[in-house]
Every structure is written in structure tokens, then in C-alpha cells.
Symmetry: D2
């Protein structure tokens, strides 16, 4: 008999956008419940947040160490199953590590860690404990991304030749950090954001999506990162040439100074026989392109019968009912929940449920950021993608 | 101190699409929890559904009568606060009535009832009990619909002259009921769907949206309904001329035989000074039109600062993160929850929280269906909108 | 051996938009040359225009009577073959009649005449003289309109059930005639525009396109016309329910007060097996819709090989090179030229070249306007489409 | 008193797509007439083409040498004013040179020459003769491109930071040259196409548009060209990082193997204060983006009054009437004609009429191709843009 999976949250106190997204995504399908949290930097604020989330007082903890220790001491049918980490970047690694060491599964916001070395340490830990580790590269959760992946892997597009992936934003066109805007402040601060701002934040989503859909790996790259905005130390824009392990070529560009853009995340993949185009801001549509036939408009929803099982597994609504960002994010959590339930009941993981970004993606993401930053500083044209 | 609002569900057993939507919408924001249900036509199936929804066995009831009776007997801090009705059309009225009579609030899928008379009976009951009644005309929950309403009510568009509202679908272009498809079977059956199929199902959404956004009321109409599909008794297509109480003119058309259309629900409103255009399938965009300036693309999400408070109240995510059908639906449930919490704690209802379709909308919707059906059969050109 | 066809123009002096369009359209493909004209209301202005158009002085005439008389007296290898009429509405009939009586072919801007009776008189004259008469319902010249017609006539869409055609404009939302704007002044003036403004100007394009694409005829209609704009006598907005001769239903709406709209002329046609959607402002795209397959994006240009010969005959450029309004207009003139050249050399008219709006369309257009105006004033719900 | 400008054509015989485009573009506005040509590789074919174009037999010449010699001998009021060169790439330079030497102006299809050296030779000749030389980078003729240039040059977008320009096509995804397709055969053949295929054909349009709109110059680039398609020697795809003379960064990518793409030529320019986005396949729309206001949809046509004079000078039709590829192309020819007429009558060139691509653009285009080809072969990351 199945039971709900119990989640403890690290970060995500009142006012934090991404914490609320994780909670909505985790609970959307009813398989996960929030049972506890260490929501804020101070115990008082954490209590406050717990109350607003209707949690019992004794399960809003002062910090993640306390949460992990106290939850571990609770009876097995009460204590949390996994932690969800939604803190700023530099606070992803410590709770992830402590959770794994104490037997809790982990879902972490990206990037996995502050440095590539930490990511590799985490990988060793995940492998040795056998615990589940999921990284919320949420864009891979969209049903049309699943369909795109299916079209590639089924061979319908033929051998892939070219990939264009772009993630322009405009929110840092102005110097918001000078006005004290919180997000802008930590993202542009090397001490809190790490070696990269734009590439670490959105460039890495682009890299992940390109590799996820095509099943290919970047082997070489050539990057030009720029810190537009006077006095800024970290990149707010980046353009990268890509080469993949099958000989395909690519372009990846991302930006925070493309004024007027929201999250104009798009991907184009061209194979020898066909191509696809997907825009994150119109996520329920996938354009499928052929040499000698009209472009086809694939749409989410199952009524019409042409979508793959993989896409259908990640769809909740009939055609014509837009699913959005939260639903895509929820697909990741749902797959985590289905996988954990299968483990708990010693059953096989249902088809497609084990499809979410794991520790390997986490490591590649950290490596990507390191490699583009180093490439950008280098005179060497082609920089190898090393881990 | 606020607590979660407790929901009991009538209908929505395993496999029912709309029941699942209501559950996701109700619980998305964490203010409502599902505590019990009478999910199916048989007690066994209802138990099965309760189990799949992780409910305790004793709160999955055999039918709605049993649920209402037994829940009423539970302690006040345990029993459900309201019922959510997600059964087929002909089964909306009985549970709504019984719930109200027994002191439970009601959220009902549309249409409110099977006949206009029942709707008026319900109105009397709602008024006499003082209980809350919400009808899930969910499309009014979209943030850009709120913005459209705001643009009209603030006078920015000037006096409204013309409204075009359309809801074409194609799913009944083929005779699915002949193949036993469940939805198609009951929708095309007068005994279960009532006097209208297409107009009752989607036409009424169009009517509601037009009146909601403009704040106007239809006073006369001229309808042409057709039952395309051999042997069908109920309309699968309808075209209607509209006249509004301020002299504005309009066109409303809806269809289930517009082959290849999903839910292509669109509205255009033109005033003396400006106009708007909104498409349900691209819900995060609102086109705003002017005589002498470029068309403006309004977008959900608050970072850019130009949206009204009304729209912002119904938005969860920053610009660029698509919100969809479930989120719009959830706005309705969230407003119900906030209103009930205010009642429970004797506080004022927060701004915009009392904005959801109520019993008046329910009655107007039933009247609309009756009036278009009668108009279509009549030789009289202009048919008065009577209630 | 083929020669260029020679055109004389009535109207279209300097500054007149539509005259310039006709000249560009007529000469685009090199089969027609402008040889003479009576361009303006005064001989001086006409001379001026002739000079600006590089015509010899002796072929810029004072009025159309003079032009017809003097051209008739010229040698056969010099004189004009046909006249192109681009004057305001009330001046279409007189030159058309005089030209036909004197043996000249006619291309006329729409509407053909001021009254239905005149149109019928013209029809008699065209039939008795055997001369060619073309009416510039230019929108039927777009290649994707040809493709839409082909999809219907080839049976691919099945029996047609529903047609929605709309032509909203916003240019008369403000009272431009009060500011002396020329177009606005005559269009809103019954003495110069006739019994209708909006319906006569753009509504009739919508009627023509609907009948052209579907091959059906409107048999009954129900209209609601409104003269928005204080003090106006003629309609600036109209909404019409349609019934076609095969039982199909339709909606036609047109407007000049849909503020912010340019020429948002769109048509949707739904058959039992498939549907199409076309927007005049994105004319190189035709959406083709199916019950069980993705929507297909048909595109002008022939490289991809799936378009019909009919569409290809009306296309000049490979895929990806936008063709626009002038090219569509030019298709009409090109077909006229090819037909006249075939007559001159006693050859068969090439395939598809005889496809342009003729006198029958002219008469139906005038009848449409008369019928909607009368229907709008009538209490009778269904008004028969009489000629 | 103004007269028509007389054009002689080199190339563009029957069946050649681009020759027909030049003829339509040149004559669209009535200021230019085709008076002679050397249309084909054999005198017979050239005569045949001349006849189909309604030219007198004695002005269809056997080759361009004959045409230039014989036209030069004609009286001044009869002979051609300029030649239009529409031959394959390797045949652009010889007629251009001979025409200039003999006192004829030149309009040439791009690329100007086969090698950069030839382009520089041409530049010397143009400067020494004072004759007019225009290169048909036709995309700069679109009114919305003019508006984009105006928005940059007027400072409304602020200092430019980022440019993304892309020109994906799919027509060489399959090996059409193996099937003997003519275009594919010469484009993929180094002997006829030169050192580059994709970059020379469409990449150079992208380069020209980026520099035209921004007024900036590329100073360094980093290219990765690939000859997808077994056995091909020349690039069919290319990705390039760009650096501009003001510090702006850019990405340029072009392709002929992006299967399913037509001419998906797009440009995005982002400044410190605003940005623009333009798509060649929807050319009448320009998106204008701001940090704190809705995106604005600028549209061609002048009724609304917000477009610049520069854009209006290149517009023929009111808003809502799509102008396309031929009209944009015709803007270039019209400006050439207006400039030549001004020279002939010793008047000042009218405002904006001297805005067409000239010999400097021709030289930069040839240099761009040489630089990307060399950069692609080099290990040096940043390759200087040298001429």
C-alpha cells in the first residue's frame, strides 16, 4: 500500500519565490506532503514561515543541521523521506551532503554546488549511499521537451547536425543591485554566486536542455562572456560555440542584459531528416520540421493520439488546456515520488518515472560553468569540456 | 490563527479528468486540504479512489448523502468546510442543495444545475443561508483576464462598443459517442446534458467571460444552433448575435465540430478609446490596442511593474514563467479559501479575494443557455435575455 | 506573337492610394503597360498626373468620356485594350458602361456599381458584348487563398459545415470625417458611399472570400449593423449570421470601429474531415487542421512540393520570400492579361488564368450589401439572399 | 522634367528566379524601364528571353560585352543608363567593371565579386569614375529595417550591447546537387561559388543587416564553418562569435542544413535602454522592447503616425496591407532611380533616397566572407576583421 512521500524543506521562507514554486510543484499531484522545514536564516523567521505553511510548531527548525538530526530521531512512519534544498547557490552543498550522510534523499535546486569539486564529492556520496539525488533542471519536465527527446531518440530526425539554444533575459539590463534588489545583489556577487552569474544561472539550463533532448554531449566549446553593467565582476551575457560528440555543431547564448526579454528560452535541433523548435514561453507547442512536408504543430494533451508515451506520462490535461512552469516542475517531483514509492514497496519503478536530472547532470552542469568561464579567459579557440 | 480549509469532494473518482483538475487547483496554494469524498457511483469505487488519494478509509463515502450526514456529525475541528461538486451536469444540483441545507459551503463545477428553475432555487437557498457558493467558471481566474477587466473598469478603453467572443472546439467533429467515448456519450445525451450540449458546455463560458470582463449584461440575443453529426439531438455548434445593456454589440460563437481546434477560446473587446484581445491558449499574453500607438503586449508576472493589483493578486510567478489552466483554476479556489479563512477569523476579506463566480453568475449562465436554445427555435429576431 | 496589354486608367491621380496599387499590380509582371488615363476630376490635374507617370501629354485625358472616344479613334496597335476604374464608388458604373459599349474590356475596383440594379445592367452588357469584366476582389488573389479553395474543392476537408469570416478595422473609431480626412468623409457619406459604409467596403470582401473558398452560396442571413460614431448615418460595424446552400452555418463580422485593428481579415472553414485558417496580415501561411494529426503550416513557395498547381500558378517566389498585398492584387491583373493575350492570339486560356472575380461576383457583392442592410432593419430573423 | 531611367540586364534569362525578382523590383514604381539585356549564355536563348519580355529584337544581345558596346553607340536619349547584373557569382565582376569603364552605372546582385581583391578594384573604379554602384542587399530595403536603424541612430535604444543575427535555411539538408538541381550544383561548387557557400550566400546578408541597423562595425570574429553533406567542399553551416567596434558582442549563425527552415532570417539588437526584434518572414512587424513597459508591436503603414520618416519613405501601403520581399527589393531600385534622376536634372537627391548598399558594403561583404573562412580554419580565437 502506497503512502505519501514526506518532504522537509531547506530555505524557501516567506517571500522567497523559488521556495514557493518547489512547494507547489512537490504537492501538485498529491503524492508528496511537506512535513517540516528549516526555512530561514533565523529560527524566528523559520517558525514564522512554518506557521504560514500550516506546519506544527515543532517541525519548523532553526537550521538544516537541527532538522536533519531531529527528523532522524523521529519514528520511521513520521520522519521526512527527503529534503528539498532551495537556498542560495552557496548553501546547496552543505545540506545535501549532511542529508545523504544521514540517510535522507535529496532534491536540490540548481546549481548542485558552489564548485565542481563539491559536485564530484556529492557524486561519490550518492553512489556510495544508493540514495536518490535529483537536481531541478525543471525545463526538462515539460511534455513537449519529452516529445522532442523522443523524436530524436526514435531516430525520426536522423543524425543530429546542429543545435541552437538560447536563453535571453533582460532583468539585469539596469543595475538593480545598486538599488538593493535582493536577487540582483547575490547573483552579481562572486562570493555568493560563484564564478559565474549568467552562465551559472541560465546558461546551464541551456546546456542541460541541449544535452537532454539530443542525448549528445558537448566535447569542446569556445566562449565569450561579458560583464555588461559598469563595475560588475561576473558575466551578464555569454555566447558560446559548441561541438558535440557525434560531430554536431551548436550555438549557445544566454543573457541577462537582453532588455525586454523575460525567459525567452528556445531550442532548435536539426537532424539529417527533420528538426524541432521549442520555446519555453509557449511550452505546449512543439514545431516539427521536415524537408518536404509542412511544418507540424505538435501540441500537449492526449486526445489527438499522436504524442509519445513519454510525453503523455508528463501531461495532466487534455489538449487545449495550457500547462505551465509549475506543472513542468511538478513532473520532476512526481517522478521522484513515484520512484521513492516504488523503492518503499519494493516494486519496479513505473515507466518514465526515473527520468529526472540526477547527479551526473549536476556534475556536468558545474563542469559546463567552469569550462565556459575558463574558455572565455583563454586564447585557445577550442576548449575541451573536462570534468 | 489561520488553518487550512477542509474540502469534501462529490464525484471525481479515478479516471475523471475534471475531478483531478479540481483537486490540483484546490490544493495548489496549500490553503485547502482534501479530507473526504464521495467519489463514485458505487461505494467500492469510491473507497478505491479514496485510497489512491491517500485518504483514511472511513472518509471515503458511498454517496454524497452519506458524506454530508456523517461529516456533519464529526467534531467541528475535523469535519469538512465545503463540498466540491465535480459530477456530470445532472448531478450538480442535488448535492449542492443538500450541502447548503446542512450548513456546508459549496464549490460547484458548471453548469450550476440542470434547469434554470433549480438555479433560482439554489439562489434563494444561498441567500437565506448566507453560505458561500462558487461556480467554477475557471477562465475568469487567469491574470490577464483580470487585467482586461481592470482596463475596462478603469475607463482606459472608454465606453465599450463591440465584443467578439468565440470558443471553437473540434472534438465532436467525429461521432465519438458511436464509439462509446464516455464524455461524448453523456454530452450528446439530452437526459444527462440537458437542453444544450455545445452552448451549455462552452458557450456559457464565453457568455460569462464577456460579461465578466466588460461588466456589461446581455439584454437581447439572436441565436442559430445546429446539431451537426447525423442523428444528434443537441447542438454541437452555435452562432449568436448579442446586444448589451449599454448599446454595445457582440458576436458569440462556439463549436464542437470546428475540426482541429482544441480550446480556441478568444475574446476581443473594443471601446471608444482602446481595445483588448486575449486567447485562452496563450493565456499569459494580453494584447492592448490603441488608435494612435503601437499595440502593446501585456504579460503576466510582476517584475515590469505595469500590471494592475488585481492581476498581480492572481499571479504566482515572475514574468516569463508560463502559468496555465490549473493556476487559473486555482485562483478561484484560493479566493474561496481566503474568503472562508476571513469568515472563520472574523476578519475582512483581503482585497480581490471575493472575486470569483457566484450564484448570480450561475443563474445568468443557466438563463443564457435557455435563452439561446429558445431563440434558435424562434422566428423572432431579437430574443430578450430573461431570467 | 504575344504583345503587352494596354491599360487606360480612370481615376488614380496623384495622392490616391488605390490608383497607385492598381498601377503597381497591373505592371508587376510586365504583361501590361499603362498607356493613357483620365486621372482626375479636372483636366489640369489629370495632365499633371500623366506627366508624373511618364505618359505622353496627349494621352492624359480630361475625363473618361474623352478618353474612351479618343482612344477608340486611335489605330488598333496603339489604343488601349481595357480600362481600369479606380474612382470613388459612385463613379464606377458610368465609365464601366461606356467602356463596354465602346468595345473596351473593364477592370473595376469594387463595388462594381452604386446600386444592385446598375450591377445587373452591367451584367447584361457584359454578356451581350462578350467583353471581359474583372472586379478587384483582390484578396482572392493570394496563393494561400487559392490553396484553401483547392483543399475544399478537392474534397480533402469533406463537406463544409461552418465558416467564420471577419474583417475588423479600427480606422473609424475616431470621427476622422470631422477633421476633414478625405477617405473618412466620402465613406461615411450616403451620397457618395451608397447604402452602406462598413459592409460595402470590407464586409463585401468577407462575403466574396467565403463564397470563393468554399464554392458555396449564402442563401439566408441575419444582420445587425450599427453606425457607431455620433451623428453617423451609415454602418461602421456589422455582425451577420449566415446559412449556406449546403446547410453550412456561418458568422461574418466586419468593423471600422474595432480600435487598434488594421486589416485583420481572417477566415476559418471547417469541413467534416478537416479545416483551414487564413489571416490576411500573415498571408503566406495557411493553417490546415485535422482531427487526429498535428495542425500543418502550409507556406507559399514551391520548393517543398506539396502545394497545388492552382496555388503555384499564383506564386512568384520560392518559400521564405514573403509575397504581399500588391502581389495578390497583381495575380488578378496577370490573369486578366493572360486571358486577353489568349483571346488576341486565338489560343486557349492557360490553366488557372481565367480565375478572377467576374461580373457574377460583382452582382452577388451588390446583392449582399443590399440584403444585409435590409436584414438589419427587418424584424424577420432569416432574410433570404435575393438578387 | 523627369524621365524614366533605362535599365539593361545581364543574366536573368527565362527560368532564373533572381532575374525576375530584379525586373519586378526595378519596374514596380514606374521609374525604371527595361530597355535591353544580355540574358543568357547563348545569343539564341538571350533573344528568346528578350522576346518573352516584349523587348525589340535588336536590344536582346548575345553577351554583356556586345550589349555595352552597342548601347554606348546609341543616342543618349535611347541608350541604357545602368546595367543590372544578375548572373551567378563568378560573373558579377567582369560586366560591372566593363560597364563602369564605359560610363554606365551598375546595380549588382551580391556578392559583388568573386574575390576580395576584385571588390577593391571595383571600389577604386567607382571612386574614380564617380558612377553609381549599388549592391542588392535587399533585406535592408524593408521599412521595418529602416525603422530599426532609426531607433538605434536616434539613441532610443541607448548604447548597443548585443546583437544576435541568424539566417537558417534547410534547402541543402539533402544533397540536391546529386540530383542535378541547378542552384545546388553551382552553390556547392568552389569553382563557381568561390571560397564559401553558406556564408557567402546568406551569412553575408546577416553581416550586412547587423552593421546596417546598428551602424557598428565588426572588428573581430571567431568562426566555425562546417560542410555538412557527404563529399561537400564548401560550408553549408556556420556559427560565428562577433565583437563590434563599440564593445558590443554578437552571435551570427547561418545554415543551409537547418531542415524545414525557409528563410528564417532574424535579428535581435539590445541596447542599454531598449531592444528590437525583426523577422524577415513577418517583415511588416518590428518588436520594440523596453525594461519597464510592455513590448510594442510596430507595424508598417503610416496611418497610426508613430513611424519615422525614414521608414515611411520606404512604405507604399497603409497599415494592414502586407508588403513583402519584392517591395523591399524595389525600395533599393527606387532609391537608385531617384538618385539618378536627381543627377540627370542636377537636383539634390531627395531625403533617404541615397540610402542603399554601395561599394563600401560590397567590399565589407567580401571581406567578411574571407575572414570567416580563414577564422574557421585557424586556431587563433579572435580573428581580426581585415579588408
Amino acid at each position: 500500500m502506497k503512502r505519501k512521500i514526506r518532504m522537509g524543506m531547506v530555505g524557501g521562507g516567506q517571500g522567497a519565490f523559488i521556495g514557493a514554486v518547489h512547494r507547489m510543484a512537490a504537492t501538485l499531484d498529491g503524492h508528496i506532503e511537506l512535513v517540516c522545514g528549516a526555512f530561514s536564516s533565523t529560527p524566528e523567521k523559520s517558525k514564522e514561515s512554518g506557521k504560514a505553511l500550516y506546519l506544527p510548531e515543532d517541525r519548523a527548525y532553526g537550521d538544516f543541521q537541527e532538522m536533519i538530526e531531529r527528523e532522524k530521531a523521529l519514528p520511521e512512519d513520521t520522519r521526512m523521506d527527503f529534503i528539498s534544498i532551495v537556498t542560495p547557490n552557496y548553501m546547496h552543498f552543505p545540506p545535501a551532503k549532511l542529508a545523504l550522510v544521514n540517510g535522507f534523499h535529496v532534491v536540490s535546486d540548481k546549481p548542485a554546488t558552489f564548485t565542481l569539486e563539491e559536485a564530484k564529492e556529492l557524486q561519490t556520496l550518492v553512489e556510495s549511499t544508493g540514495l536518490l539525488y535529483a537536481l531541478t533542471h525543471n525545463y526538462t519536465g515539460y511534455p513537449m521537451v519529452k516529445e522532442a527527446k523522443h523524436l530524436v531518440s526514435s531516430g525520426k530526425l536522423g543524425n543530429i547536425r546542429k543545435v541552437v539554444v538560447e536563453y535571453p533575459q533582460g532583468w539585469l539590463a539596469q543595475k538593480l543591485e545598486a538599488e538593493g534588489q535582493k536577487q540582483a545583489s547575490w547573483r552579481t556577487d562572486p562570493k555568493r554566486a560563484g564564478i559565474s552569474n549568467c552562465m551559472g544561472d541560465v546558461g546551464t539550463h541551456a546546456e542541460n536542455l541541449a544535452e537532454y533532448i539530443t542525448g549528445l554531449q558537448i566535447t569542446e566549446l569556445c566562449a565569450d562572456l561579458t560583464a555588461f553593467g559598469e563595475g560588475r565582476e561576473l558575466d551578464t551575457d555569454g555566447n558560446v560555440l559548441l561541438r558535440f560528440n557525434n560531430g554536431a555543431r551548436g550555438v549557445l547564448h544566454a543573457s541577462q542584459i537582453s532588455v525586454g526579454e523575460e525567459n525567452a528560452f528556445k531550442i532548435y535541433v536539426y537532424g539529417e531528416k527533420g528538426g524541432i523548435e521549442w520555446h519555453q514561453m509557449s511550452p505546449n507547442t512543439l514545431l516539427v520540421k521536415w524537408p518536404d512536408r509542412p511544418v507540424e504543430i505538435y501540441r500537449t494533451g492526449g486526445d489527438h493520439g499522436y504524442l509519445s508515451d513519454h510525453a503523455m506520462h508528463n501531461t495532466r490535461l487534455p489538449a487545449g488546456h495550457p500547462e505551465g512552469y509549475i506543472e513542468a516542475f511538478a513532473n520532476l517531483y512526481r517522478n521522484v515520488a513515484l520512484t521513492l514509492q516504488a523503492r518503499l514497496s519494493d516494486e519496479e519503478v513505473p515507466p518514465y518515472a526515473d527520468d529526472f536530472p540526477m547527479i551526473e547532470d549536476a556534475v556536468r552542469g558545474m563542469a559546463f560553468v567552469k569550462n565556459v568561464v575558463e574558455s572565455s579567459k583563454s586564447d585557445q579557440k577550442w576548449y575541451p569540456f573536462t570534468i
